[in-house]
């Protein structure tokens, strides 16, 4: 799975947690989950759990704390997909 494919799947994970649908349509690797997508920080752990299910991976909390923008999310997911536990 390349970064573009991960991004497409990631959009599905983020959809329930943002009301900024226009911003979601135009997301790129610089998009910030809280500042740009207005995702409530209380949902950050939900997003990590949903991403784990979506990609069949496990994200430990050291990795999870990097996931504040889309590019970092893709880094973490890509790393876990390519190095299964």
């Amino acid at each position: 799975m390349d970064r573009k494919e991960i991004l497409i799947e990631l959009k599905k994970v983020l959809t329930p947690y943002t009301e900024s649908k226009e911003m979601l349509d135009g997301i790129n690797e610089q998009t910030d989950l809280i500042k740009d997508l207005k995702i409530n920080s209380a949902n950050l752990v939900d997003i990590i759990i949903d991403a784990e299910a979506q990609y069949n991976i496990e994200i430990d909390f050291d990795a999870a704390e990097k996931m504040y923008n889309v590019g970092n999310c893709i880094d973490v997911i890509s790393d876990k997909i390519n190095k299964p536990a």
Binding site: S41, V45, D46, F61, E65
Partner: protein, 213 residues
């Protein structure tokens, strides 16, 4: 640098079942913190969300002086927590009914902060301070009618300005955002040295502010 930090979790916007699953709470609660549960006398999901709100509040407190700080909840460690019958020297603007009160302390690296939290039927609200005495900290929680981002933002600003206008008569107060993202208060064109922190979730908004001079 003087600062404030707060957080609110609206309990109607939370998946309680998921909150109680180890795969959820183990993402940000360390094993020594899990051992604090027996001291709280609250449902487990409330304990998990209480710790989350303390960690988020402490992060917001530190972010003001460390612009590059990344939210790492597993590195913000709650050291002590206890239920209390009342808060001394407290300036809370919100309903006092049916609230369960907690206080304790939390560490981020070498920094130690103190917190006060309220568990209400519908929300959990927290504030942090660098002193055990909160006499200079003002905070409030308000229910709003619509939960969209714009209304949350407008409502919390109006809520805190009402409070500040009652404290600073004949002033022209307004709120802007710093480049890092925290709110800053102006009187006319002059920056006021009153740190503010805002939080919103679902139909609840909350503020905390520090008046220390």
């Amino acid at each position: 640098m003087k600062s404030v930090g707060n957080d609110i979790v609206a309990l109607n916007n939370i998946d309680k079942q998921r909150t109680c699953q180890p795969r959820f709470y183990s993402k940000f609660i360390t094993p020594p913190e899990q051992a604090l549960y027996s001291q709280t006398g609250t449902p487990f999901e409330s304990f998990v969300l209480l710790l989350w709100s303390v960690k988020e509040s402490a992060y917001k407190y530190r972010k003001r002086s460390e612009a590059g700080l990344v939210f790492s909840p597993s590195k913000i460690i709650i050291q002590q927590i206890e239920q209390t019958n009342n808060f001394e020297n407290d300036n809370f603007d919100g309903t006092q009914l049916a609230n369960i009160l907690y206080k304790g302390n939390v560490s981020l690296g070498v920094a130690k902060l103190y917190f006060r939290s309220i568990i209400h039927n519908d929300y959990i609200a927290t504030i942090v301070n660098d002193d055990e005495d909160f006499k200079n900290v003002y905070w409030g929680v308000r229910l709003i009618d619509k939960a969209d981002n714009e209304n949350q933002s407008t409502s919390v600003r109006s809520f805190v300005l009402n409070k500040l206008n009652s404290l600073f008569l004949d002033s022209e107060l307004r709120i802007e955002k710093s480049s890092v993202g925290y709110p800053v208060l102006y009187n006319g064109t002059g920056l006021m040295d009153i740190p503010l922190s805002f939080a919103h979730h679902g139909n609840y908004v909350a503020y905390s502010l520090l008046i220390y001079k």
